[in-house]
């Protein structure tokens, strides 16, 4: 059963969440908070992450999916949201799941920006485990890609008024999403390789790319995260970038197996 509802962010803003209560909770099945991505990635990954949540639920895990402030069904405006707010929302989501599931231990499972947030939160307060799907390792490189994509969209949709990013009036427009003018600076400042230290809990970093070899950034991240971090490589289309639904069954299997191994 999926139970939609709202919980409060640190400053009282309503955050939307969907709680998946297992029919029969398995003691070994740790509760899981799913930290999504943002912008168009969030939209494209919505169905795959929901499917993942349903499979985890069927396997006995309590699961909470949620929207950060200023996104999806949550309150708040993207125009005032900074990276720190996202971090706070993840922390609150975790506490909310603890109350719903009736137990304090949990796993953060994040995708893209959500994976970066999950790793940061786990480094901050610890946890039983963390699963990071295609984390954004170097924020500056990601911001460059976003801006590049915006320009390409503008070129491909020339004259249609779509695909342009604009600044002005105290906010920034990124492909139709309003951002705080410093949000990109916040992301550009991220560097998981420099800021990460060895994790104290078993973790999974999942590289999802067109090749089976580890990418350079991934390799460096694994070194920084230490021996308790295990790399899984999945040759798969980046489903968070696709308009059509992608078969993510291999990812679901990998996640379930990883959770069983913890």
């Amino acid at each position: 059963m999926e139970q939609p509802g709202y919980f409060k962010a640190l400053d009282g803003l309503p955050l939307y969440g969907v709680y998946h209560a297992p029919e029969r909770a398995a003691k070994r099945a740790l509760p899981v908070v799913i930290c999504p991505s943002l912008f168009e990635e969030r939209k494209s990954a919505y169905a795959p992450l929901r499917r993942l949540a349903l499979r985890l639920q069927a396997a006995g895990h309590s699961v909470l999916r949620f929207d950060y402030r200023g996104s999806g069904e949550s309150g708040g405006q993207g125009a005032v949201r900074r990276w720190q707010h996202l971090r706070e929302d993840v922390a609150v989501a975790r506490k909310t799941l603890a109350k719903l599931a009736g137990r304090r231990d949990s796993i953060l499972l994040g995708l893209r920006l959500g994976a970066t947030l999950a790793l940061q939160e786990t480094q901050r307060v610890g946890g039983e485990s963390v699963i990071a799907l295609a984390p954004i390792v170097k924020g500056a490189a990601q911001v460059r890609l976003w801006k590049m994509r915006s320009k390409i969209r503008a070129e491909l949709t020339e004259g249609s008024g779509q695909g342009k990013s604009r600044e002005g009036g105290g906010t920034m427009d990124f492909d139709g999403y309003e951002l705080h003018p410093s949000f990109f600076d916040d992301v550009a400042a991220l560097d998981l390789i420099k800021e990460a230290g060895p994790l104290s809990c078993p973790s999974r970093i999942v590289q999802i790319a067109h090749k089976t070899e580890a990418l350079a950034d991934t390799t460096q991240l694994m070194i920084a995260l230490g021996p308790r971090a295990k790399l899984e490589v999945l040759k798969m289309e980046p489903f968070w970038d696709k308009l059509d639904d992608v078969d993510t069954a291999p990812l679901e299997e990998m996640v379930l197996k990883g959770l069983n191994d913890i």
């Binding site: 320009k151 390409i152 070129e155 067109h210």
Partner: protein, 84 residues
């Protein structure tokens, strides 16, 4: 590097990066990647990153908006200008 060599590398990279289930030779030199091969902004972005990695070149902001990445022919001309 000869044009043909660049074209072959570009085709192969496109097929690999976009995980296309075709042979690289099936991409025509003047095929509009958007219209014929369903390349959207994300796929073009992947191609641009692929070019940077494959040829060791840098793509600047001003290189966009000029059709530099819409056909193998245009991509080859772009790469050739930037190779040492």
């Amino acid at each position: 590097m000869a044009d043909e060599a660049i074209e072959d590398k570009v085709r192969k990279m496109i097929v690999e990066r976009l995980m296309m289930k075709i042979k690289p030779s099936e991409i025509g030199l003047e095929d509009d990647l958007m219209k014929k091969w369903d390349a959207d902004s994300v796929k073009i972005m992947e191609i641009v990153i692929g070019l940077e990695e494959l040829f060791g070149i840098s793509v600047a902001d001003e290189d966009f908006g000029k059709g530099n990445f819409l056909t193998v022919k245009a991509i080859t001309a772009f790469v050739k200008k930037r190779l040492p």
